[in-house]
């Protein structure tokens, strides 16, 4: 045991950049999967989106990708280029309070897409942006994702059962146009990197 002297972790053998685990341990601030929040800044059916957002338990918007590739044949080779990009949907899970605010909110949102007589409304009536914020351990926002052009593809799905013991969870699937991340910390980092790059002649 080393008393009165700071124990030091050895750096790695072939670590040419001299980045040992000591440095990494000190500089890594890893995003936790549970430090996040949803903000839906719109009101439907007399229900505040901000309040409904607090009931969100789970969100998934991970499949944003170039779904179609443009292909070119060149002799015996194929070359691929970016084609259409797509994101299928966003899936959210909400706790269901007994005041029915979560259900009311999404039913009212759905009715802004198609009315009770089956007529469609213009997109400005129902396409909205919602936000997902990631936080660091001190609750300072690290990244904000704007999920653009959202509207419900279906009514909330619930599974009541006599054989289970739990709270009711409603699953909502939203259609979405695009995801746009923004980060103050990332902007600062990019600014520093660009400034250094311009001095040393990087690209």
């Amino acid at each position: 045991m080393i008393i009165g002297k700071k124990a030091k972790m050895a750096t790695f053998g072939f670590d040419l950049a001299s980045l040992g685990s000591t440095l990494i341990t000190k500089t890594w601030h890893l995003q936790r999967s549970y430090n996040w929040g949803l903000l839906m800044p719109m009101d439907f059916g007399g229900t505040l989106g901000y309040l409904v957002s607090q009931f969100c338990q789970d969100i998934s918007f991970d499949d944003y990708r170039v779904s179609e590739l443009s292909k070119r044949k060149h002799g015996a080779f194929e070359r691929f280029y970016a084609g259409m990009q797509s994101i299928e949907s966003v899936t959210l899970q909400f706790l269901v309070p007994v005041d029915n605010s979560v259900m009311d909110f999404f039913y009212a949102w759905y009715e802004r897409v198609i009315d009770k007589d089956g007529y469609y409304y213009p997109k400005s009536n129902y396409k909205k942006s919602i936000f997902v914020m990631f936080y660091d351990q001190t609750k300072i926002e690290s990244v904000r994702f704007e999920l653009k052009g959202c509207f419900p593809k279906s009514h909330p799905k619930v599974h009541p059962s006599f054989t289970e013991e739990g709270v009711m969870i409603a699953e909502i699937i939203l259609s979405i146009d695009s995801v746009e991340p923004s980060s103050l910390i990332g902007d600062i980092r990019a600014g520093i990197t660009n400034a250094i790059g311009s001095i040393v002649g990087g690209s």
Partner: protein, 169 residues
Amino acid sequence: MSMSADNLKHDISNPARTYWWDIVIPKVIGGGNRDHMEVRAQSAVIPGRSFGEILVPYKGTGGVKVPGKLTFSHAWPVVFIEGTDQEIFNAIYGWKQTIQNARTGIGSLDSLIKADLYLRLLASDETVAKKIKLVGCYPQAVDDVPVAYDDEAVIFYNVNWSYDYWEEG
């Protein structure tokens, strides 16, 4: 620093005893007598707390450990001694029936069936040295109590209180 017993004596002039404590139940949901419950508590535990563990693997190293979520056991066991007046039975039964009536299945709102309980650690002069507030308690379970002619003992109830979290009160 020398390791003599005097050092320990100077540091801890009066060690805290495991039997200097009491509990406070400011409100007994369902109409039980709080004085009886507080006096008849025979044993309890100082609740613990921990963090979830996240291990991030890194190359050939042992990895990097970071703390996860704050976790509690959410269970606080207290043992009560019963009298022939059945005050403990009545209090716990009344509380549980308020949570959910066994016959009708009708229950109360979550916010109405919870109360904050306190564990007080005492000094030798009975002043309160530390007060722990267990937030959002309700009796989650009461163990079976065997009764038999060949036994010679008094009746104790092991009541497991559920709580949301605890803090210094």
